[in-house]
Symmetry: C2
Subunit: 387 residues, 2 copies
């Protein structure tokens, strides 16, 4: 039988992760899950949900009470004014991104993404039948988008979506307000949707996270958020999106055709996490750790003359080790030094001598990981054979 | 912006449900959720999961320990011998169906479904870019499939998947072993996949549920099961599929591109439900109720001269009220008698004077619902104006 989806993972970071499973005591810097865990009393929320017998399907848009709480959160924290009808609850932010790509660009339409960019976007785009066009993330502007549009049209394509991910994965890039205004203007002028992926909204190192929809309104913007990152709870699989009612309704249909609705109990737990402001306890500690870890990484990169794309937020550091081939280096690093990292090649063609490492680990683990990276780098650049 | 997914629900049963929300005290026979609830101690499973800090992403194929338990369940209960690599955990059975449709027929390929058939299939097929061909469910055979294949090829299409849903929604049809053998032979001869949807495996009224993969093996068969129906726990959103490794691997990739992985805690709860054999407590009671309710429905249909497609399992009765238009009748029934049913028109073009009602309600509620259907029917067929 001919399969329309290749039955193998096509990211180098997956190869690294698979290999890492075969070794013991690997320092895993390749994924970005926060080291902290949700506080113990969160288990009571599950019990509450069960005792209320929330054991059935919810509405296709998600539980109404959760959406009411989300409306308040979006207004208070993000400055996004929305009705519950503008909000959908999904299985993590990923499902929301998948649905938007499918609904607006699933016929071969083009999606602009940042370069470098989370490796999930190209995979999701390909899966739903959309195409990708990359713009350097610090070059987003009315003009660069206009040029992208022209380039896309030369190829016979149509620009449908502009993705903005801030703080970004992998670099921690954030967009300034004037760039946001230009993108909003471009999107309005050319009837294009902005997909604002704000998964790391709580991990901004200086100042306050600004949501583009607080500037541009809901008309051309779907903003995606998640419980996963804020609450160190990726396993809960609850995300949400806010946007124009028509698109949110289409996403609800996509959701019904994909998995009916998100799990009921998890939606209740998400509501309680928000109501009890559990984030407050978690985020502050995490930011402190992230900042300290970032300082450690910067010391290392400086000492070694490595480049770093200095993150303004997020949970990663994206660093350049001159002269390496990121895939080859990452494999050797794992083999000889037992450190797993994400090769830059996964983030776009221009990043072949870059590595992404998470800074959401304990200080000691990160420090040891960096020491081993340094060791492997020195051996590699000395071209001394080893093993 | 042009949306590639229409932002509205296109099923009559959704219209009925929306209308039903506006009235008080409606007897809701339109959906099939079992009246029972999971036993109280299931809440402890959630606490256990949390205390074990199962708060992270799981593997793309789903938690390994759950898959080990599923392997045993599939061997013991379904007679399906599989390795853990042949098993994937998904968000309900629906996600598994969506992924199989996408992977094998997402390029406009054809899927044979039963007539009448669960209204989810055409919607999912359309969403992923596949097409539907219907065969009367009691006419599945090597010959009818060969004819279907020829008809599809005449239209320039290719047959990729044969769906078998047993006990079926809406009729409770089950396939006999000789039919299964013919379908398996056809699938092998023509390199077609059988998608065996066994969501209602536990609700068979006479004899034992037989899984087609216990006859045909794994080569051309993906079998889909769910925790939702067996455990009266649709809100848990955990299903699973077993099939050829290559297809299961492609489904894992589809899963990563759609929502990364199913929720971790829910997977643990599913495992505990299976380990503790909670089904035993629930299913027996439910089958007793379903059989008693079926007897009540049959008395009613007999008395009124209505046809019934006698279910051999499942949680529905599919009945024909001669002369009605199912959509018009269902709307009137809701408006005047406050009973919600699923119009036959949702299940295929041939079922316009049929209704699907759930038999998974309390006896008294079902009985009152039937009385009101009878009343409305008598008024409708007398063409006496009303209201």
């Amino acid at each position: 039988m001919r399969l329309l989806v290749e039955p193998k993972f096509d990211l180098y970071v997956d190869v690294i992760t698979d290999e890492a499973k075969k070794c013991k005591d690997v320092i895993q810097l390749q994924w970005g899950e926060l080291a902290s865990v949700p506080p113990d009393r969160v288990k009571n929320f599950f019990v509450e949900a069960f005792e209320r017998r929330l054991t059935r399907y919810t509405l296709p848009h998600g539980d109404l009470e959760l959406r009411r709480v989300l409306r308040k959160k979006l207004a208070d924290k993000n400055g996004i004014r929305a009705d519950v009808d503008n909000i959908i609850v999904t299985i993590g932010g990923t499902a929301a991104i998948n649905f938007v790509f499918r609904i607006l660009a699933g016929d071969g339409g083009y999606i602009v993404i940042q370069d470098p960019s989370w490796f999930g976007y190209p995979g999701i785009a390909r899966y739903v039948g959309a195409r990708i066009y990359r713009i350097p993330e610090n070059e987003y502007s009315y003009e660069s988008l206009e040029n992208a549009k022209k380039e896309i049209e030369k190829k016979g394509g149509t620009l449908r979506i502009i993705v903005m991910n801030y703080p970004s994965n992998p670099t921690g890039h954030v967009f300034d307000v004037s760039t946001m205004k230009e993108v909003v203007e471009f999107a309005r002028d050319h009837d294009v949707l902005i997909l604002s992926d704000e998964a790391y909204e709580d991990y901004v190192f200086a100042g306050k996270h600004i949501s583009i929809a607080s500037i541009g309104g809901l008309d051309n913007i779907v903003s995606v958020f998640t419980i996963s990152k804020t609450y160190s709870f990726t396993g809960l699989r609850i995300g949400y999106a806010v946007g124009p009612k028509e698109i949110i309704d289409a996403m609800a249909l996509a959701q019904v055709h994909t998995y009916i609705s998100p799990p009921s109990i998890n939606q209740y737990v998400a509501r309680r996490l928000l109501e009890e402001n559990i984030a407050k306890e978690i985020v502050k500690e995490n930011i402190k750790l992230l900042k300290e870890n970032l300082r450690i990484v910067k010391e290392f990169t400086e000492k070694n003359g490595w480049e770093i794309s200095e993150p303004k937020g997020g949970i990663y550091a994206f660093i350049r080790l001159p002269g390496i081939d990121s895939v080859e280096f990452s494999l050797k690093l794992l083999r000889y030094e037992k450190v797993a990292v994400a090769p830059g090649a996964d983030f776009g063609d221009c990043w072949k001598d870059w590595l992404r490492i998470t800074i959401a680990k304990s200080k000691s683990e990160l420090l040891e990981g960096l020491r081993r990276i340094e060791k492997q780098y020195n051996l590699t650049t000395c071209t001394k054979p080893r093993g």
